[in-house]
C-alpha cells in the first residue's frame, strides 16, 4: 500500500511541476505536430502508399516526441540536488522509478491522444475502425518506450551531451518494441484486425514490456546510488 501511495506521490509531483512550466510538453507536442504536418505535405495523403507507412510515421512521431519528455524526467531532479533528497527518503528506488515512469506515461499518452485525430485529419485515414485494439497497442508500446526511456534518462542525467545521448542509447534498445508497434498500427489503421502472424508481434510487445519493466525495477537502485 505505502509502495503504491509513494508511486502516486512521485508521479503527481512530476506532473504538477511539468504542468506548471510546460517545458517538455510544449516542445514535445509541437514537434510531433510538425512531423505529422510536414509529412502530409511530402506525401500525397490520398495515395495507397501513405496507408502503408501510416503506422511507421505515427510511431516515429511518438518516438521523437517521447524523447523530449523523457530527457527532462530525471534532469528535472538535478536542480537543487532534489534527486539526492528523493534517494535519501524511505521511498525505495523502484517506487521512485515507477512514479516517474507513470508521470512520463501520462504525458506521452496525452500527446498521443492529441496527435491521433490530427493524424487522421491530415492523412485522411479512418483510424478508429478497431479503436479498442489500436488503443491496446498504443498503451502497450508506449509503456515500453516509457520504461526504457525512464531508465536511460536516469542513466544519462549526468552526461554532457545528454540530449543526444539519450535517444542514441535508447532507440536501439527500443527497436523490437517500435517495430511491433509500427507493424500492428499499420495493420489496424488499414482497417484489419490483429490476427494470425500479427499476434506474434503483440506477444513480443507484451514480453518486451514485462522483461524491461522487471529489469528496470531490479537495476534502478544500482543506477541511482553509486
Amino acid at each position: 500500500m505505502t509502495f503504491i501511495r509513494q508511486i502516486l506521490t512521485v508521479a503527481a509531483k512530476d506532473l504538477r511541476s511539468e504542468i506548471r512550466t510546460k517545458e517538455a510538453i510544449n516542445a514535445s507536442l509541437s514537434f510531433a505536430l510538425v512531423i505529422l504536418l510536414l509529412f502530409s505535405f511530402a506525401f500525397d495523403p490520398t495515395s495507397e502508399t501513405t496507408r502503408e507507412i501510416a503506422g511507421g510515421l505515427l510511431w516515429l512521431a511518438f518516438a521523437f516526441a517521447g524523447v523530449l519528455i523523457l530527457n527532462r524526467s530525471f534532469a528535472r531532479e538535478l536542480q537543487n540536488d532534489c534527486l539526492d533528497m528523493l534517494n535519501a527518503s524511505p521511498v525505495p528506488a523502484p517506487a521512485l522509478f515507477l512514479g516517474k515512469a507513470l508521470a512520463n506515461y501520462v504525458l506521452l499518452v496525452g500527446i498521443e491522444a492529441v496527435c491521433l485525430p490530427v493524424f487522421g485529419v491530415f492523412y485522411n485515414v479512418t483510424w478508429y475502425t478497431h479503436l479498442g485494439q489500436l488503443v491496446l497497442v498504443l498503451l502497450l508500446a508506449t509503456w515500453g518506450i516509457t520504461v526504457v526511456g525512464t531508465v536511460f534518462s536516469a542513466l544519462t542525467v549526468n552526461l554532457r551531451l545528454r540530449e543526444i545521448m539519450l535517444p542514441m542509447l535508447m532507440y536501439p534498445v527500443l527497436i523490437p518494441c517500435l517495430m511491433a508497434a509500427m507493424r500492428l498500427s499499420t495493420v489496424l489503421i488499414d482497417g484489419q484486425p490483429i490476427t494470425g502472424d500479427d499476434l506474434a508481434w503483440l506477444r513480443l510487445l507484451i514480453g518486451f514490456d514485462i522483461i524491461f519493466t522487471s529489469l528496470a525495477v531490479v537495476l534502478i537502485d544500482t543506477v541511482l546510488i553509486g
Partner: protein, 227 residues
Amino acid sequence: MGLRDKIMIGLGALAAVLLTRNIWVMLTGLPDEAFQGAIFRIIFFHVPAAFTCFLCFFLALVAGVVYLVRKNLQWDAFAVSVTEVGLAFGAINLISGMIWARIIWGIWWTWDWRLTSMLVCWLLYAGYLVLRRAIEETTERARLGAVMLILNFSVVPFVFFSIKWFRTQHPQPVLFGDGKMDEIYRTMLYGNWVPLLLIAAVLVMLRMRQENQQREIDALRRAAHSF
C-alpha cells in the same frame, strides 16, 4: 618479461601460424563454390567473425553482472576490453558482408532483417562505448556501463527472434539449420574460427592491461590535484 606477456606472445604466434596455414589451404586446397565462385571464401571470415562477436558480447554480460556483485574494477576492465574486441569482430562481419553483398547482390546494403539485426546489435554495443566515454569518474563509469550491458543483452534475443517473421535475402542458417554445407567447407569454417578466437583473446588481454594502467594514471593525476 612476465608470464602474462609470454602467454600473450605464444597465443599470438599460434594464431598467426594457424591463420597462414588456413589462408594457404583456402587459396590452394579448396575448390570454388558452385554458384558464387571465388568470393565464397569470404565466408571463412564472415561467419567466424560473427560468432566471435556474439561470444564477446555474452562475456561482456557476464563481466557486467560480476562487476555489479563484486565491485572489482578488474571486471569492468574486462567488460570494456571484451566489448571493444567484440565490436571489432562485428565490424569484420559487417564489412565482409558488405563486400560480399556488393559482389553477389550488386549493392552495398539492403534493409534485409538479417543485416539490420546485426547492425542493431553492433549499435547497441557501440552505444555502450559512447556512454563510457562520456563519464569521467571511474567507479560511476563502471557501474553505469555494467547496467547498460545487461539492458543491451536482453534486447539481443528479441532482435534475433523476430528474424523468424521476415523473409530474408541473406542466406538462412546452414550450420545449425538443415546443414547443407559441404564437409570440407564446414571443417574450414570451424578451423578458421580457432585463430580468430586466439586473436580475440590476445587483444582482450592487451586492452585489459592498458585499461588498468590508465586507471592508475588517473588516480595519480587526481592525487596530484587534490588539496
